[in-house]
Amino acid sequence: MTENLKIIEIEVLRYNPESDQEPHLEVYSVPFSDDMSVLQGVQYIKDNFDGSLTFRWSCRMAICGSCGMMINGIPKLSCETFLRDYYPDRIRVEAMAHFPIEKDLVVDLSGFIEKLESIQPYIIPKEPRSLDQGEYIQSPKQFNDYIQFTSCINCTLCYAACPQFGLNPDFIGPGAIALLHRYNMDSRDGAAAERMELVASEEGVFNCSAVGYCSEVCPKHVDPANAVNINKTNAAKDYFLRFLSPKGGAK
């Protein structure tokens, strides 16, 4: 079997915080078959060349969102990207851009997790509801308003794609804003005004300069750029109309 295997060169960005001053590239020659993903390529390196190579993965079927890497400079899920599409050229695999590297291909996502928490990613009912009021009824239209934005798998590829997040790590960013929008658009939720404080803040939507690359790299077609844009309009309305609204809008 091994004779039929082609060999591809994989260049991997390595960084060991205990011994390295800065990240550097190392090249490995990896035998592969046509059904092998880039993730399987780096797994081959770990199993055969260097057991210390560190990266995240779990489902290997584009569901868990943990295997994001820069592949030839483009943020991609490594489990759904195939080595055959790069052969015979060398392929470069790096940690996701714009995040601090923890080790090799693993980045520090704690900032992203904080942002996820800050958007209150759960349904906050408009008014308290008792059990005997029964379930919520939602029309297909109401369902369609938010369903697309539920597909996010928190892979953060959109953050690696976003030049504005790269310039300002405080920017809440595409993925979290898409999820925020998902809850705002849910007919069961009543906390859009509460979330507006964050949307309209200096960390909010106006960091976006409508590059749109986030939506291009999103493996789940969430279209976070669209969510950000809609919320720019919402925040602008809130900015100018808050003086007219009885509650005075967000602070």
């Binding site: 509460e194 803040s201 200096e202 925040a235 602008a236």
Partner: protein, 122 residues
């Protein structure tokens, strides 16, 4: 929810940017064609279409004034915002200085346009 959030003033600039962007997309090419090609070359339009008396009459009409002001001011606010953000994207974070230069020049030009247009009378 995070505490200590500061409301961004961006909507002011973003709205002017949006309005200017829309206007320049709608009228920009036509204006370049009329003022840069059609009139100077006497092509499709009579050569005196933009003669001084005609333009003066246009600028003395209320709607004409509004149009001229919108085209000058909103185009500039649009450009100022775009340039400011492009500087940021190229890694020049001049902050307040860049802001003042970009939006300041749009503001000054807007004020001058208003003064001149009003000075032309009705």
């Amino acid at each position: 929810m995070k505490s200590g959030l500061k409301r961004s003033n961006a909507p002011i600039f973003w709205s002017l940017f949006g309005a200017g962007g829309m206007l320049s997309a709608l009228f920009g090419p036509a204006l370049v064609f009329i003022t840069g090609i059609a009139v100077p070359f006497g092509f499709l339009l009579p050569a005196d279409a933009m003669s001084y008396p005609k333009m003066l009459a246009f600028a003395q009409n209320l709607i004409g004034k509004g149009f001229i002001l919108a085209v000058i001011a909103l185009f500039l606010w649009f450009a100022a915002h775009r340039i400011y953000h492009s500087l940021h994207e190229f890694g020049i974070h001049a902050g307040l200085a860049a802001k003042l230069i970009c939006y300041g020049s749009a503001f000054v030009a807007t004020v001058i346009s208003v003064v001149v247009l009003l000075g032309l009378g009705f």
